[in-house]
Each structure stands twice: as C-alpha cells, then as structure tokens.
C-alpha cells in the first residue's frame, strides 16, 4: 500500500515538473489517489475520500486563505495608491549615487512587501519601480532581480500569511510559529545583505546602453503622502508588538492605507475596487491552499499514516546533526516543484512527519520554514522568481544560480536552529 502511495506521489511530481497539470490540480488528484491507495472508501464515513479529503480538506487552510486575501487587498491598495512606488522612488533619490545603498533600500522595501503579501504580487510591489531603478544606477540585472527576491525571503519569517499557513499545516499555535519565525528572521536578513554586498562587489556596477521594447504602459500615479509610507509596517507592528491577531492587523493596514491616501468620499469606491482586484491576485494561492488542504487531509488518513510512517521513519535522520546534514543536502528537492516543495507535495510529507510522530511538530515547522526560504527566492518556477527575472530582463535560471548559494546557507542556518531548539 505504501509503495502504491509513493507511486501516486511520484506521478504527481512528474505531472507538476512536466507542467502537464497545474500544481493545484496535480495536488488535488494526488490527494484523492493517496486516499484511495490508503484503502479509504469513496463515500460514507468520516474517513471517506468525499468527506475527509474533499469536504473537510478543501477548507482546512481557510484561515490562511482569508489572510492571503487580506494581504493581497493591502498589497493592491499599496500599488493603487502609489505607497510602494513612492518608498522606492525616495530610496533611489536618497541613495542613487551609491548603488549598494539603493539595493539595500529596495531590499528593505521588499522585506516590508514580502511581510504583507506573498508571491508575484509582493515582487511587483517592490520591483515595478525598484528593478528598473536599480538597473539605472548600474546594478547588474540579475542582482537587481535577486535583490527583490532576497528581500521577500527575508520578509517571509515576518509574513503574517506564512505564520497562518505553517500554523494550520503543522497544527501548532500561532504564538509558537511566530516565536520560531522571529528567530529565523536575523539569519535571512544577514544572508540577504550578504547577497547584495558580495554580489555587487563580485559583479561590479555596470552602465549599459540598453533599450527596452515598448511594453504595456504602466499607470503613472502621484506620490503618496509621507505619513502613508508607514502602511507596510503597521500590520507587523500590531501583530508583533501588540499581539493583535492576523486578520485585524491586516485590516488595520487596509484601513490606514485608505485613510492616509483617499478622500473620505472615495473610501467606498477605492476599497471595493482594490478588494475586487485583490481577488484576482489572491486566486492562484487560494486555489493552491485548497489543494494543499486536501493533500494534508489525505496523508493524515489512518490508512496513509499506517502505510507511510514506517517508510518515512526509516529514511528520516534521528540525530540532530544528521537531521541538519541530510535535509541540507536535500534542499534542491524543493526546487522545480520537487517533492520537498512546501507549497506542494512537501506539505503532504510534512503532514506525514507530524501525524506519524517521526519528528515533533515544531521541528517539522522548522523544516518547512527552511525550505520555504529557498523556494521563495531560487525556484525558477515560483511566480515571484519568474516575474522578477523577466522584469529585470534575465532568465529565471540565472537568478536561481545567483541566489541559490545564499538561500541554501539560509536553509542550513534555519535547519541548524531547528535542530538546536527542538531536537537537541
């Protein structure tokens, strides 16, 4: 039975890798296949495919989905009202004669954008103005794209949506997730800064006579007022400093952005227009989270746990340092929609590790968080990586090669932290 389940998983990975099926659909079919291979009936009873996988599994990550929608709403508002673009413009104006200062400034903005919303939407918030501005001051295109992505990775430990996802996926209290993620933040921050400083020193500043083909004209917006520029900080400060839950923290950000940038008569229209646009932005991750919820439910079914636990247990390292070594070596398996992608089959494997009692839940949280950093930046199939690379005018694979040494180190640092905190 276990071998059959593994075959279903391998087929799913193949379908994702070859792009025959979109990831969300592949995960959904994998969930149903795993449940059937685990001997669960199609209908009838709480452990049936219809009930456990589809009915209970689909909304399992509902809290994460709401956070995604609100994060996307705030991100859309920051784009529509010019808040993100204004911050980047100010940074370029202040630091323009020092390319490293500009890159560090855009990196800081990317951290803020990454902490509010994820995926390509976050990359666009910081990158639409930030990437051409960095290239204009002589930063090589690949480093310009990589800087935005490294900023998103450094913002990932502070991302409220990410806390909710990890909390839902490994069934840990939000406080515990937050506490671990805050310890990961300095590692991501230091390696992000190291990327900028080292890569700029290694590649140098380049001035080019280059011309871009005419593209779709961007909507040009006025500068947001200075007091609106603190918007991206507000949800983080509320959630971190005042322990306000995630949904009200994000809503407070939305409310503040509206008040700071919109005339009172226009609140309703602006809010509604940006909310409807946010649904478009949030649709792909929400569909993915529906499928991940189904997959998590499938691998937690009694039949699946019984079949998979002995196998996963046999190959999972037990000693704390072996844990770091083995999972550090396996880092590339989270790229290209691979089996350790935490927004794919990796979430299912994490489910098996927790439900089979192979590692304590906090250790699995650490594992997912570590791989999440690599995935966010270096995976050439991640939407944010594809967008940033293409917008900078380079291939996503070049961004992967440029950033992977740093994100790999980030993952090793987080794995070592996990091992020290939860396994030693």
């Amino acid at each position: 039975m276990g071998v059959l389940i593994l075959a279903v998983m391998a087929a799913g990975v193949l379908l994702m890798l070859t792009r025959v099926l979109p990831t969300a659909f592949a995960l959904g079919f994998m969930a149903i296949g795993i449940a059937l291979c685990a001997g669960q009936p199609l209908f009838g009873g709480k452990d049936s495919v219809a009930q456990a996988v589809l009915q209970t599994g689909a909304p399992m990550l509902a809290s994460t989905m709401i956070a995604v929608l609100l994060g996307s709403w705030l991100g859309t508002l920051m784009e529509d009202t010019g808040i993100a673009a204004t911050i980047v413009r100010k940074i370029v104006e202040f630091g323009g004669e020092r390319p490293t200062a500009v890159a560090l400034g855009v990196f800081a903005v990317s951290i803020l954008c990454g902490s509010i919303t994820g995926s390509a939407a976050a990359a666009m918030l910081a990158g639409v103005v930030g990437i051409p501005a960095m290239i204009a001051v002589g930063i090589p295109a690949v480093v310009a794209g990589g800087t935005v992505l490294m900023g998103l990775a450094a913002g990932l430990p502070l991302e409220l949506i990410g806390w909710q996802f990890l909390s839902d996926a490994v069934k840990l209290p939000l406080e515990e997730v937050r506490s671990f993620q805050l310890k990961v933040f300095p590692i991501a921050l230091v390696l992000g800064i190291a990327y900028i400083v080292v890569e700029l020193r290694r590649k140098g500043v380049r001035h080019a006579w280059s011309v871009r083909a005419p593209g779709k004209a961007r909507v040009r917006r006025g500068d947001a007022p200075w007091y609106a520029l603190v918007t991206p900080l507000l949800p983080i400060v509320l959630a971190l400093g005042f322990a306000v839950p995630i949904v009200p923290s994000l809503l407070a950000g939305v409310g503040y952005a509206l008040i700071a940038t919109t005339r009172p008569g226009g609140f309703g229209t602006t809010a509604l227009k940006s909310l409807y646009r946010a649904f478009d932005v949030a649709a792909p991750p929400i569909v993915l989270f529906i499928a991940i919820g189904m997959l998590l439910s499938a691998v937690k079914l009694p039949g699946a746990v019984k079949a998979l636990s002995p196998m996963v247990s046999a190959i999972s390292p037990s000693s704390p340092w072996f844990f770091v070594l083995v999972f550090a070596v396996l880092v590339p398996l989270c790229l290209y929609r691979g089996p350790l992608n935490v927004y794919g089959l990796g979430a299912g494997i994490a489910g098996v590790l927790v439900s089979g009692g192979i590692y304590p839940a906090p250790a699995v949280l650490g594992l997912m968080s570590s791989y999440g950093q690599v995935l966010c930046v270096s995976d050439p199939t991640s939407t944010q990586t594809v967008w940033s690379a293409q917008y900078a005018g380079v291939r996503p694979e070049k961004v992967m090669l440029s950033t992977l040494p740093y994100t790999w180190l980030m993952a090793i640092g987080s794995l070592a932290l996990t091992s020290l905190l939860f396994l030693a």
């Binding site: 413009r89 051409p132 501005a133 380049r206 006579w209 083909a213 005018g393």
Partner: protein, 181 residues
C-alpha cells in the same frame, strides 16, 4: 514641429519610473544641464587611459537590446555585436539608416563617458543638477537624478562620433519598435 535633443532627453527622463510625477519644467531643466555636461565632457580630452574594449556574445533579445556595457569592476567596455546588429535591423525597419560600424563607435563612446563619470567626473554633474532630496534648516541631502548620466553619455557619444542620428534619437526610434527577428 521638430523634435529636439532636449525633447528626446525629457522623454527619456520621464520614462524612468523614478520621475513619473516630476513636472515638465523640472525635467527640462535637468535635461538641459545633463546635455550641456555631455557637450563639455566631449570637448575635453580624456584624462584617463582608455578602458579596455572586449566583445561579448548576447545583447539581442525580443524585449531588450544591449549595445554595450561598461563594467566598473574590470574597467572594461563590453561591446555586444549581436545587440548592435539587431538594433541596425530594427532601425532600418523604422526608416533610420545607420551602419553597424557607426553604431558600434557611438556605443563605445557612450561607455567611455560612463567610464569618465564613474571615475569622478560624474560628481560635477550631480552638483550641477543640484537636486535636493531632503532639507532640514541648513542641512541638505543631495538627491540622485536617475537617467541624467545616460543623457550626458548619449550627448558625449554624439559629439565624439558625429554620427547623423545621435544616440538619443536612435534610442527613441528603437523604443518605438519591437525587437523580434
């Protein structure tokens, strides 16, 4: 109405996302300063040894053309023959006649200007632009004007090579056409 170099320079500045809300007069003033600086730079002999010139592959994509680059780390001008030959074809489609040799010479001269500005002369351009990013009483932080060095380098290349269509006009013509094929 004839489009002057100054008009093209204003358009180029306005295309930078950092200037999208700047007033026309401000952009025009910066354009004038940058072009005049390019003229002056071209009129003075190069004080530094000429940078190395190397040819590297690439530079021609459907979304971006790179004609030449100046690598500050190795102080070398990297000429992109693929980008130049694609640009010649695109310009021909646009009804602008320029040879690969002329374009190459202009691209090299453009990067010589960057070489000079990067090695210190760019500070004078920043001083003349006089953009204040922040002021608190007597304290003032000088702001960076994105694209001003490009304008100066384009004008420098035009003056030094004397090609019929200057780099500003060529850039403007290229940005109006797709690069495919």
């Amino acid at each position: 109405m004839t489009t002057t170099d100054e008009d093209l320079a204003v358009d180029l500045l306005r295309a930078a996302p950092t200037h999208e809300n700047r007033a026309e007069e401000r952009l025009r003033a910066w354009a004038r300063i940058a072009l005049a600086f390019g003229d002056e730079l071209a009129a003075t002999p190069d004080p530094l040894p000429a940078p190395e010139i190397a040819e590297v592959l690439g530079g021609a994509r459907d979304d971006v053309l790179v004609l030449a680059e100046y690598d500050t780390r190795v102080r070398t001008i990297l000429v992109r023959p693929d980008g130049i030959s694609r640009a010649v074809k695109v310009l021909m489609r646009a009804g602008v006649s320029v040879t690969a040799g002329e374009l190459r010479a202009a691209a090299v001269a453009h990067e010589v200007a960057h070489h000079r500005m990067h090695r210190g002369e760019g500070r004078e351009l920043a001083r003349r632009l006089g953009h204040t990013a922040f002021r608190l009483g007597p304290w003032r932080i000088r702001g960076h004007v994105t694209g001003a060095d490009e304008l100066a380098a384009h004008r420098f290349a035009h003056r030094r090579t004397g090609i019929g269509h200057g780099p500003l006009a060529l850039t403007a013509a290229l940005t109006r056409h797709t690069f495919g094929g």
